[in-house]
Amino acid sequence: MIWFLLLLYASIAVALAAFGHRLGRHAFTVAVVPAGATTAWSVLGLGGDEPVTADLVWVAGLDLSLTFSVGPLAALMSLIVAGIGVGVFVYSAGYFAADAPGLGRFAATLVAFSGAMVGLVWADSIWTLFIFWELTSITSFLLVGHKHADPDVRVAARRALLVTASGGLSLLAGFVLVADVTGTSRLSEMSAAAGTSAAVAAVLVMVAAATKSAQVPFHVWLPGAMAAPTPVSAYLHSATMVKAGVLLVALGSPVFVDQPLWKVMGLSLGLTSMIWGARGALRHVDAKLILAWGTISQLGLMIALLSVGTGKAMFAAVSILLAHAVFKAALFMVVGEIDVRTGTRDIRELSGLWRSMPLATAVAVVSGASMAGLPPLLGFPAKEAAIEAVLGLSGAEAWVGGGVVIIGSVLTVAYTLRLLLGLFTGTGSPTPVARGRVRMTVPSVTLGLLSVAGFFFLGTVSEVVRSAATQVNAKAEVYDLVRWPGPTEALGVSMVVVAIGVLAGLVSHRRTEPAPAPMGAAVVDHLTDGTLVVARLITGRVQHGSLPVYLTTMAATAALATAPFLLALDRDVLHAWDSPVQAVLAVLVVAAALTATTVGSRLGAALSLGAVGIGVSGLFLVQGAPDLALTQLLVETVVVVGFVIGLGQLARRFPPVGSVWRGIRIGVAGLVGAGVAIGLAATATGPERPPLPLREASVEEGGGNNIVNVILTDIRALDTLGEIVVLVVVAAGVMALARAGRHRADPPLGEELA
């Protein structure tokens, strides 16, 4: 089933890319199919005890395989990915105008992303996970850059790609170390890693998670990614792709449980992001940016909770992940609907929408309340669990973690209130509103209802979350989401949080300062530009377009690569010559080769080449290879004739060469000569001859006494056939090149007669 669903995603994506432009908005109807099937299958998989696995081994020796394992956590994640995917595809059909350009491409990329994300959450082999991780980065880049005619959009897309792709490199390096330390590439088989390599791997993997989940200081790409169409923001940049980092931290936590750096990094990245993100959400006036910064903040909370490492925190993190996916996607959908129907999403301009868009208002209020952690909504028990988890810590962790999470929660309530007040109320005249679109309303209302339903079916939700959290931390088994905890410490804290948050929200709503410049983006843009400058510099240096320099570089590199052979030199296997004739011939060959190199006339060079060939034939004869000697003589004759014919029209003398360049070439040539000598001497086998099993085979099976000929015509017959084909092709090419010139030289027949 795993293969079927993944192939379904792939084939639908390809089909939409090819034919989607003919379908218009119906492309999204097709796109719903794989997401719907995956949703249904994930729901069925939620209750299963044994993970469903799929395995396709590619290179067993290198442990390269496509391996999936769908346990409770993977099923929950794919339910989120595919379920919200269904909503987003329906929503997209309403969001875009019927004649919007590039709908087929957009739908295809969105399906491809959805499939990649599903593959990512199902992956069991870290290499499989890495491949899908990178696929989500690429599809995210394409989706952010959908409106590619706008230069700002291109910059934003490039920024998103560079940040997430550099995180991908970090992930690859981390995974290589992890596989080395733990001795396996299967997440399900990994045990806690120890040692320096494990510590380095922990840092690398955490950095990768932070880039994907937009944690400070890697967060700058996410607000920029809001340049994407709103369905993309709702899907990739709040509900799913940015959760990949969170999932990675969850999956990594059992492996890095003994690494203090993992915990410290996760906590500091998460807590900083929680506060910094909330600060951003309080300062922006574009509703999508408010939501994006809010996402950074919420992801920070999840990563911090996962890094704490206790069962309770793990449990709380998974519940928030689920609740966040539901309410944030709904909020994005509402903001997108407002954007489409009013033409703006600036909270200073919008006014009176609560009257004209009551349904959207209701969805936003419900989802916002869930985000703020108010009952009777799914966000409430999740946030209670989080506060309980941090209150249960001890020592400095309790003070720092507890303090930051509480401040972060206050700010969350504040920016939620500011957003809702800004979107739906206002002092100006009511904003004119265009007609509603059913396909935009249905998904957002459904998600809004889910936030409510989650609270009333809390038992089921709690069970699902518990089994998912238990998969990575067995201690999460004992926890439950509770509808109403009674008068506990955490509830008291929550009430204070809400009270202060509401006050802060009212205050910040009053403030109407201009939108600040995107924080931190300038730094990344400088880095991006710097990378491009360096890339161009290197390209300019390396790819300079000069064939001689390419060849010199390659030859020098190859020659230097033989240096290690110096250690393997053994004088005993060498002797001066097999016979004195061999020595004389070798000297002759070298002399002729030097003449061919230095002589100034083309004819002289061609004749010297002939001399080299004859000398080499002699060496063949001495070696005991008469066939080779004969062939070489024949070939050499033809080549010399060819030189004389082919170059007959050229100037007699070669053009002069610059002296510096010539010096370099002589140096490199010397290196190559030395390299060949060292390589040959080091690999020499010594005086004894290898056994000759071919002798009997040649006579009895090949029916020939000339063993070399039998090898060529019987044993390597196919190779010889290929060789003959090469010669035919060469002959055809030579003929074509020779005749190409002749045609032009020939005068037309009629003229000749006249």
Partner: protein, 125 residues
């Protein structure tokens, strides 16, 4: 292994390298030819010391040279022959078209190095 053969192969490789890094196509052809000789000699030398021709009815197994590298070398000789002839035809054609047989630099590649780094390559010029 015979030092004389190693010496010859190394010298052929060195002169061949020197020639293929030239700008004149006819020199490059010469260089390829010399490199081909070097490769065949190296291949042959790797089969052990000299011996009698590998003819089953004439030579004793003990004194026979290894036939396998010889068979491989024969292929190498033929292929390098084909390559040499084709390059020669190219050099001739180049001369017919341009009047000489110099290998020019790729101007497109040169241009890459000189594009203004700050410019957005996607923007209309």
């Amino acid at each position: 292994m015979s030092a004389a053969v190693i010496f010859a192969a190394a010298a052929l490789a060195a002169t061949g390298t020197y020639l293929i890094t030239a700008r004149t196509l006819s020199r490059i052809v010469l260089g390829f030819s010399l490199l081909g000789h070097a490769a065949v000699l190296a291949l042959l030398a790797s089969g052990g010391r000299a011996g009698d021709a590998p003819l089953a009815n004439r030579s004793a197994t003990d004194s026979m040279a290894d036939p396998l590298p010889q068979a491989l070398s024969l292929t190498a000789i033929v292929i390098s022959f084909g390559l040499t002839l084709f390059l020669l035809a190219l050099a001739r054609r180049e001369h017919e078209l341009t009047g000489d047989d110099l290998v020019e630099d790729d101007l497109e590649d040169r241009r890459v190095a000189h594009v203004h780094p700050g410019a957005d390559e996607g923007a209309a010029p």
